[in-house]
Symmetry: C2
Amino acid sequence: MANITDVARVAGVSISTVSYALSGKRPIAEATKTRIAEAVHELGYRPNAGARMLAGSRTNILALTAPMHEDTHPPALMAFVLAVVTAARSFDYDVLLLTEGEATTGLRRVASSSLVDGIVMLDVTTDDERTAVVRELGLPSVLIGIPGDTEGLTCVDLDFEAAARLSLARLVELGHTSVGLMGHAEQLYGRGSNYAPRFRDSFLEAGGESGIATAFHTTEATREGVEASLDGLRAQLPDMTAVVLNCNENIHGILLEVLREREVAVPAALSIVSACSSFSTEHFLPPIDVIPLPAQSSGQRAVELVVQQLAGFVDPHVELIAPTYQRKQSTAPPAAAAL
Amino acid sequence: MANITDVARVAGVSISTVSYALSGKRPIAEATKTRIAEAVHELGYRPNAGARMLAGSRTNILALTAPMHEDTHPPALMAFVLAVVTAARSFDYDVLLLTEGEATTGLRRVASSSLVDGIVMLDVTTDDERTAVVRELGLPSVLIGIPGDTEGLTCVDLDFEAAARLSLARLVELGHTSVGLMGHAEQLYGRGSNYAPRFRDSFLEAGGESGIATAFHTTEATREGVEASLDGLRAQLPDMTAVVLNCNENIHGILLEVLREREVAVPAALSIVSACSSFSTEHFLPPIDVIPLPAQSSGQRAVELVVQQLAGFVDPHVELIAPTYQRKQSTAPPAAAAL
DNA sequence: ATCATCAATCGAAGCGCTTCGACAATCCAA
DNA sequence: TTGGATTGTCGAAGCGCTTCGATTGATGAT
């Protein structure tokens, strides 16, 4: 494997010239640069990662801590992981994957051995033990998700409050006045990730403010669970003409199934909006209106922020990503209004 | 951040003694070791990763190339990724995640900059472009999955042929004589990963050998697709009393739904076995007998093999993992036999 | 003409570690 | 006893890179 000395010899310059030509940190004559580039190409030279880390105290590696608990939706996690890796590469960073079981110790290990330049944290829970470590390490870090205490941390997340309001607003625009919210399984509201309660609370609040009748029900991912949730909502909202789904993918399929059987036409008799879903709602029948969970832009932004921290100082702050509404075919004016 | 010189000073020895004490590559007096350990602890010393790579020409990092195409089942991929990371950590290796889009270039990059010691390749397709790169690089590598040409490669995978035979054998033991196979979507058999056709062919072959009536049908992951597949099988096998599922998770749920509606009792009227599934079949009603896709042991074994290659020479070979059958509640003797 | 400025390049120091060769001390078999 | 092994330790030589002066001409302002 060719090293910088080989390149220098072939190009007929000193190794420092090669280094400066490659990094661009000092001016180098155009002709020299060309000769060096040729030598690099000819030898298939790639700087040795270890040497670079040692001398430059930059590793060009980011740690990605991606835990996996029972209530993690794997496709969603995968989407975020993918987004982060892709974004990192666009800044010439590689990604070291840390998983559960190694969460805090792993972070400590890679940080204190100077293996990584920064940290991206996925699937942050309300009182995530990793936040303490990140604060303590003082390494450039960005969380995707919002912990209970954001003091000193930089966080990126979808604006769940805005998403809740947006989902309701669109339905109100269409003329709906009674809208239910089918939420996640009950356990998600008790502990852990806080996006679920954030969404619920804003939704109900927005309903109150705009004088729309709203109700909420948790939903288990079984047929019975979905029926219970739907019936529960109907009981609270006899005139319900629309339902917002803030729950996982399976529940969507089951709900459509149940509605088909009960001969409730979508969207004629019931409008549906899926909010904060990490999956495509295209393949459902009908395709469901959706406010997507922006894995791609969250990952992108998180990496950008780490890179910025690396480049200079960035004030810790929380950055909320504005929700977008994608119109498909699952909403319509309520039946009563249509008549 | 404390370095080895600090440790040496505190312990009152030379840095080489510290190095040897930590690596165990030369005998060091017990008392000295203790003093060094204390100094390490006191200073919170961690060897610098870059320096280690440079001096030791070992990075303790493995590249994991995990592509993500349309027909990748994210939970399955995730399970393998997790397994590999966990296994790698147990050998004190970290994992650098490479994704699609960077597949071959990424491998080349990390290899030629000596960023990684070895490679684990996930989701290998029949004519995977990454195999050529891996051969060319000559780095310790293990594929999880089996490409068309295994020459010079070390591969680990579930023994799909054996799994196919095992699924059928269990049903035959129970007295079934007419067994259908619901496969994946059609496209999977044309190109790409070869586990699907491997399973199908062995299944049909095993049927032929044992005089059991068998049939195969591809299955789209929609209600219509599942019904078409089921009806297609019934058309070929009017007396079908059992069906083997070698397809993705969604299809399982839909099938059970369809059967419930059609009032086909499971397992009384139809036995079901799920083969090579990466997900839990516990939560179905009834829980489905399964031959699991051993993500965990595949990942474990793959990492072991990379580590072995790192330690010494390992003959390239293909290693098939024996399938295991997990009895749940979805199989029973056929109705006719039960009478 | 004169001196600071800047572009272009080089040499050398050093990043923190591993590892080789040396050397002293201790050991046990002959 | 003696000498070849073995144990325990040290010093020093790199590993391949980045980066800090230093040097040499050329450039331009005065």
